[in-house]
């Protein structure tokens, strides 16, 4: 494995870890909107097909390397480049979807936070969201209004709440 391939392995692994997390953990998957899952599947499948095709066909591999520059990317790094790009893009879409769904259930503006996560460079938007998000809300047993979890009494009607662990 050449050095470029090793460098490209890092985003691939991060992307695959996030995709695995969403696929395996039901409570996370429930938060991510279906549209985000479908949109994330497209680049991931495309990446798999590219990685498979370029590793099987040397002509395609060389052609892709030519098309992709002068960038210093070695011909043999092409399947890794495809896998890294695809899995990272898929993981990014899933993460934006998670921010959207999570902000919605916490009573924060979901579209705005998804936009912040998407637009702020260097993934700082995601960090901002996870640091500034509100605590999870729950419905009051008395009046049914949304209140922060962990309260002993409802701030609207004063009804005592079951302690959430």
């Amino acid at each position: 494995m050449n050095p470029t391939a090793i460098v490209l392995t890092v985003p691939s692994l991060i992307g695959l870890a996030i995709i695995g997390l969403v696929c395996l953990k039901t409570d996370i998957r429930r938060v991510v909107p279906r549209l985000a899952i479908v949109l994330a599947a497209l680049p991931f499948l495309a990446a798999l097909i590219w990685a498979l095709a370029s590793s099987l066909s040397p002509e395609l591999e060389a052609g892709a390397a030519d098309a992709l520059m002068g960038s210093g990317l070695s011909v043999h790094a092409m399947p890794w480049f495809g896998l890294a790009l695809g899995s990272f893009t898929a993981a990014f879409i899933l993460s934006v979807g998670y921010v959207y769904g999570d902000a919605k259930r916490r009573g924060m503006p979901p579209f705005l936070w998804a936009l912040v996560a998407f637009m702020v460079p260097n993934l700082v938007g995601f960090l901002l969201y996870f640091l500034l998000r509100k605590p999870l809300s729950q419905a009051c047993a008395g009046c049914g209004r949304s209140i922060p979890s962990g309260l002993a009494f409802c701030p609207h009607c004063g009804h005592p709440q079951d302690k959430v662990p």
């Binding site: 460079p121 260097n122 960090l127 901002l128 500034l132 922060p148 962990g150």
Partner: protein, 121 residues
């Protein structure tokens, strides 16, 4: 000058004042103090979390911007856009927004936290 009679009158008057001791007062004061101490501890924990987040965000900004800068330099080699224009674009649309978002973590509102969080504590 007050004479002895006045003194006695004052003492008598004081004896007539009744001080009712509320049996729950001690417990209430203790609870209030405990809650305040909890609030302060939570605010301090949040402040620490925000500062750690700021350092991580700053590291992400620096490392991410360096990677993008490197990529842009490579792209500049074969694109028609002049390198200074590309560099200005990276600074204006990549580094600056990232840095501004990072600095948001140090605003008093971020450090103080949400009202809901304080209520939930």
């Amino acid at each position: 000058m007050m004479d002895a009679q006045d003194d006695q009158r004052v003492v008598r008057a004081l004896r007539e004042i009744s001080f009712e001791i509320d049996p729950g007062l001690n417990a209430r004061v203790k609870t209030a103090l405990f809650r305040r101490a909890e609030e302060l501890a939570q605010a301090q924990a949040r402040r620490r979390r925000m500062l750690t987040g700021f350092v991580i965000a700053l590291l992400m900004t620096v490392s991410g911007s360096a990677a993008v800068w490197e990529a842009v330099l490579r792209i500049a080699g074969f694109s028609r856009i002049a390198p200074p224009v590309l560099a200005a674009g990276v600074v204006l649309f990549w580094m600056l927004p990232s840095l501004c978002a990072t600095l948001l973590l140090l605003t008093p509102r971020s450090l103080a936290g949400h009202r809901e969080e304080v209520l939930a504590s």
